[in-house]
């Protein structure tokens, strides 16, 4: 831009600058609106789901306690109790954690600390890739392989069971746990290992007493992410759960977790029935919040 020599030119430049400032202002507002959209959608989601789900209890006079602790779910008879589903969801999640977390964590340690570079270079990306496989396919595998296997080896009438759900969810969370935990373990500085070796600690001792504690927060993230995938899983679980509405008393019982209840009945539900499915969603949502909270507590406690 040249130095203005006449009045008219000066005015033109002033106008151009004004336009530029306007543009700056407008665009920064647009950026802000885009960023606020995520807040708005979150509010909308919570608002809609809670409005729908709370309606039967607040307006129609259903008891929330009966809803949570009731054993019977018979929408046609106006009976809405989700206790069996809550128990199924809790058992399925805890079971999957018990199997999936140690195996996933040990695999991550193996890949980061024990395996030769060549082997780790092949296996790690392959496992990472498996984290991206659609979860439905885990369900198809579960129904075709795990369910008949349980049926035959345990002599069950029906292989679709709590145990099948636990196994499918444990397998499904493996890639996530392995990938995230491996990254965390690899991020532990080399000096930690050297220091530990210099004190005469064996490789295995170093891994479990020095490296794993040092990578703890990353490992916790891995577990939370794996858990998130397991607890919200729906379609794969429908295929292997059996969907019976009973409180499970053994691993071989057929179950219906919270997520499957929503997906199975949402297609034809209306009125109070539909609202009760939203209420099921609220319970699932609270369940996830509580679990994340507990896990965060556990990890911060371990830190002290």
């Amino acid at each position: 831009m040249s130095i203005p020599t006449t009045n008219k030119q000066a005015v033109d430049i002033g106008k151009a600058n004004k336009r530029k400032y306007m543009l700056e202002k407008v665009s920064s507002r647009i950026f802000l609106i885009c960023a606020l959209l995520s807040v708005i959608t979150l509010l909308l989601i919570i608002g809609f789901v809670f409005y729908k789900g709370a309606h039967p209890f607040v307006v129609e006079g259903y008891s929330f306690i009966d809803f949570i602790l009731g054993d019977d779910w018979v929408p046609s008879e106006d009976k809405f109790g989700i206790f069996p589903m809550i128990v199924a969801s809790i058992f399925a999640t805890i079971g999957a954690l018990i199997i999936g977390v140690p195996i996933g964590l040990f695999t991550a340690i193996f890949l980061a600390e024990i395996a030769s570079k060549r082997i780790a270079k092949i296996i790690s990306p392959a496992i990472q890739l498996l984290a991206g496989i659609p979860s439905v396919l885990y369900g198809v595998f579960g129904l075709a392989i795990i369910v008949p296997f349980l049926q035959n080896s345990l002599g069950l009438v029906k292989g679709q069971s709590l145990l099948a759900v636990i196994l499918v969810l444990a397998i499904m969370m493996l890639p996530t746990i392995v990938t995230v935990a491996e990254t965390a373990i690899r991020a532990v500085p080399q000096t930690y290992r050297e220091g530990s070796y210099a004190l005469g600690v064996s490789q295995i001792g170093t891994i479990f007493k020095v490296i794993v504690p040092a990578a703890k927060s990353g490992i916790m993230t891995a577990i939370v992410l794996g858990l998130g995938r397991a607890i919200g899983e729906t379609m794969a679980v429908i295929l292997v759960a059996g969907n019976s509405l009973i409180v499970p008393t053994s691993l071989t019982d057929s179950v219906r977790p919270l997520t499957t209840n929503i997906a199975l009945e949402m297609g034809y539900a209306f009125g109070t029935h539909q609202e009760m499915l939203f209420a099921t969603g609220i319970v699932l949502f609270s369940f996830i919040l509580i679990l994340n909270f507990v896990l965060a507590k556990i990890s911060s406690k371990g830190g002290n």
Binding site: V49, V136, L239, G281
Partner: protein
């Protein structure tokens, strides 16, 4: 005693790794072994036939529609939101609120998104069970992914680039689209590609918002089924594991291709910045 314990733990490490790899190899092997016989040109490009023997082209088209529509909406919003958070916002309560919302959105299970989509897009906005309703729901699901990866990409642009550009007398906006966005493009791109994977793999939310009609969608307002929903339905309704596995092969190949492209882009990106 110590050696015994060490060896025991070492053995457990090997065993776990072996188990993980074996199970995962088994799943992929199973899908390919079961479904391979069905894969043919006609299967992929043929029209669906309810009596069996048809192709899955309508489901592929539906999947492509959902990917395109969700990305067309989510990409600009996600990038601009990330730009705001990284380049414009003053750190404070508002930014914390936005970050909290984005993180919370990541943690919501997809069945809840499905519920929301079913009541908001399908019923309240009267879109009906349709590709559009499903795509809008998916937009919300991938938005946090795009925001986060774009933010990471923006962080890698050196401060000196911004200073150099501003020192030349450019405005903030000019610096943004002439300097910052081009140099963070590869990172943004791999975020978008990862979102494609998320959309292709999603099932529960789509099941509740797009419905299950097995036919070529006439418009984006038609109900239709994606590949994942098709795979689920043929397993659940007819127990046709072979067909479900064949659809699975197509899905795995898509995911594989997506990952290869993302890796390729980020490798290229790393080379360019390390120079």
């Amino acid at each position: 005693m110590r050696y015994l314990k060490d060896n025991l733990l070492r053995g457990l490490l090997w065993l776990s790794a072996f188990l993980s790899v074996a199970v995962l190899v088994m799943i992929v092997g199973f899908i390919f072994y079961k479904g391979f016989n069905l894969i043919s040109f006609d299967f992929i490009f043929g029209d669906y036939s309810p009596t069996g023997g048809g192709g899955i082209w309508p489901m592929i088209v539906t999947t492509i529609y959902t990917v395109l529509i969700s990305l067309v909406i989510a990409t600009p919003i996600g990038i601009l939101a990330a730009v705001y958070l990284q380049e414009y916002a003053k750190q404070g309560r508002l930014v914390r609120l936005i970050r909290f919302a984005t993180e919370s959105l990541t943690g919501i299970p997809s069945i809840i998104y499905g519920l929301f989509g079913a009541v908001f897009f399908v019923t309240t906005l009267k879109l009906g069970m349709s590709i559009l309703a499903a795509s809008l729901t998916l937009t919300i699901i991938v938005l946090p992914v795009i925001i986060r990866t774009t933010e990471e990409a923006l962080k890698t642009v050196p401060r000196s680039y911004r200073e150099g550009s501003l020192a030349l007398g450019t405005t903030k906006l000019q610096t943004l689209y002439k300097v910052i966005l081009p140099s963070s493009m590869p990172g943004i791109l791999s975020g978008i590609i990862l979102s494609v994977g998320r959309i292709v793999g999603e099932s529960a939310a789509i099941f509740l918002t797009a419905g299950t009609v097995a036919a070529m969608p006439e418009s984006i307002l038609s109900s239709a089924r994606t590949l994942t929903v098709h795979s689920y339905l043929v397993t659940q309704e007819s127990g046709d594991i072979e067909l479900a596995a064949a659809v699975g092969i197509v899905l795995i190949v898509i995911i594989l291709a997506i990952n290869l492209i993302a890796t390729f882009i980020s490798k290229k990106f790393n080379k360019a910045t390390n120079k």
